[in-house]
Symmetry: C2
């Protein structure tokens, strides 16, 4: 038996399941894989041998389509990072034992920077131990779009489409009164401003969209922000602001920090939220007009009902690419998208060494942000626009989208 | 000339513009109306004579369709309430003078409880002064669904569809990890829990949806809430909670009040938000597991990209009904929906005296809420289900929904 194991990790997205669908499709078409297994809750589920036989569960194209329209990791996720193999070789030996017990020749791990670290460590371990019958490959996933080695990440396009569309709707909502008002919308992004930048897509059809856009790549100054708002008020009543959750002042201190606890997540990232709320208070205190803060929160990563067709199809293609890598014995690589041109939009599906990806972050380049630091440039728009094209078909039943469950 | 004036008031919804489209359609088909004018910013715009000639601006069916898919009041809104006619007759005289100057024979005002008060006062003034050449009619609108005299309100069905779909997505998002976590989602609704109840629609296709649902009609107890969460934890890891913004304790004090200022809006309603945030803190303190709060905020009222086809079509029909009322001289009435049966869903478009509607609120009946007060009953589901059926077609351009602007 030559089985393939697939697992998902990190934060949910609207497109991560399409990668699983791609893996399933390529594996079943290849004729080289006996069974496709899914580990429940990522590498944690691998260690606990919690497997679902996907070849049994998913055996028609309708199920594959439903999988593609189901948000969040259908196989569950985890936030576990493997230890250093020199410090804890037992963990690695145990994983290889489990793979052998279940006749797993291929392991595809779908996730972000931290998950690519797992792929990197496991692949390196296999290389070092001359384990040649097991091939480990990564597939990218993150709404944050902060992975190196790929032009963009599955999940980002759908989140960007949701954010662009939502800012277009919010702009309409916030402009109904003829009184001065500020609406500050906080978008996810701890260190990379890609998602916040996509608020500018609200202008695609001539609408005003956000009046001001602040990415976390630039130092943030509250006095400058207040001056920017006052400047906008000279010509308009409603000022809609997009702001990254991770904006920091010139000293690198999170704007949200004044109201947050020092809590950290399992990876040691400090837990932050509430930059919009801090700015709301500043506007109320210093300008005194009507002001609101809004967080797009979890909705921006799981709004599969408004997925980008481009994103879902690319995600599927990356799953197929990862499967091909595995079958060809190209371990230690991550399936990736290489952009050939913006307009017409052309890409190539390829792979890169996972060591170039793991534990690194791709931030927004300087020239994608306006000089004043309160908007994005045409370069950013050219980059973003192709990623939200097309509406992925969604099957509604009884008035709400239908989802699939794998466990 | 016999012109018709239409205006919009109160908070934005995804369906309020379909009512304008209905008014325009019925007026142009009637052959009895010369021009349809729109007042910008409701009754405020009437007093300031800020009019748009809709017969000029909207003259093809594509524009009418675009109007139906554009969220928030396309004619702008206001939060102005007319004074008592005995205290300030000049305001009423001025409105009638303006109507005569623009040869307005019909005035249709689309809005909620407060807007129906305007229709009521203006109609009563006309009756008292024997003004027989001007007919004033109301059309309902509110995501809160709290208007008397109509089975349900345009805007509610689309908000309910967004909320049901979003809870289905959030339920998927929150269940990816195998660790105990509580996610508390705050839904709009100061005094009526209809919107919060629609979170239960997430279960329409067999999904779990919210684990606990608390409407503002029932007194809320934080200790009981914590006990409910602990009870759920006995059989599940992820507890998703839907909670009305306006939940109050047994003494009638808003749960959110401990962290809110005493600010009030223009109508004297106290400004509240943050009930979920208060509960988040209580869970963190008393249970100590992972916990998050999410506000659906403005998105729940302007997510036109996932409008209910039933809602949009009914909203259009109510606009036509209001226009017919006006043409037939039935002043002082509000167009309304009378439900004949749930399944098959059948309704009748009719009208009711606006005096039965204004300044009153329709709350959720006792038997629509579970005995324990932490869920809804089958009666509620039978009421809600028909209102979210069908997906209103949305024209996307360049990856985001296209909207129309009227001024």
């Amino acid at each position: 038996m030559r089985n393939l194991l697939v697992a998902q990790s990190g934060g949910p997205t609207a497109a991560i399941n399409a990668t699983v669908a791609g893996v399933l499709t390529a594996a079943s078409l290849s004729g080289e894989v006996d069974q496709v297994l899914g580990a429940v809750n990522g590498i944690k589920g691998v260690l606990e041998e919690r497997f679902v036989n996907l070849s049994d569960v998913m055996n028609n194209t309708v199920d594959l389509d439903l999988l593609c329209q189901t948000p969040a990791a259908a196989l569950g996720s985890c936030r576990v990072k493997l230890s250093d193999p020199r410090e804890n070789p037992e963990q690695y030996e145990e994983i290889i034992r489990i793979f052998r017990r279940h006749e797993i020749s291929y392991f595809i791990y779908i996730g972000g920077n931290d998950s690519m670290d797992t792929v990197d460590k496991l692949s390196a371990y296999c290389r070092e131990k001359n384990i040649e019958d097991i091939c480990i490959v990564g597939a990218p996933k993150t709404i944050d779009n902060d992975l190196m080695g790929t032009d963009h990440c599955p999940g980002f396009g759908s989140a960007a489409k949701y954010i662009g569309s939502t800012f277009a709707e919010l702009e309409r909502d916030c402009s109904v009164y003829d009184t001065k008002a500020v609406t500050i919308v906080e978008v996810m992004g701890r260190n990379a401003g890609w998602l916040t930048a996509s608020s500018a897509l609200a202008r695609n059809n001539g609408g005003q969209g956000p009046s001001l856009i602040y990415l976390c790549e630039r130092p943030f100054s509250i006095p400058q922000f207040l001056a920017d708002v006052e400047e906008k008020f000279r010509t308009q009543d409603s000022v809609l602001v997009a702001v990254s959750e991770g904006i920091r002042d010139a000293e690198g201190v999170y704007i949200s920090e004044s109201v947050q606890s020092g809590a950290v997540d399992n990876f040691g990232h400090s837990y932050i939220a509430g930059s919009a709320r801090v700015l709301e208070d500043a506007v109320r205190r210093e300008i005194g007009c009507k002001v609101r803060s809004v967080e797009l929160n979890l909705m921006q990563r799981c709004a599969a009902h408004i997925s980008s067709a481009t994103d879902i199809q690319e995600s599927r293609m990356l799953g197929m690419t990862a499967c091909h890598c595995a079958l060809e014995g190209k371990g230690g690589r991550m399936a990736s998208i290489q952009r050939i041109s913006d307009d017409p939009y052309r890409v190539k599906f390829t792979s890169v060494p996972v060591s170039e990806v793991s534990n690194r972050e791709k931030k927004v380049p300087e020239d994608y942000i306006s000089e004043a630091g309160n908007d994005v440039t045409e370069k950013m728009m050219a980059y973003l626009k192709p990623l939200i094209q097309g509406e992925s078909p969604v099957l509604f039943e009884n008035g709400i989208p239908r989802h699939i469950r794998l466990y």
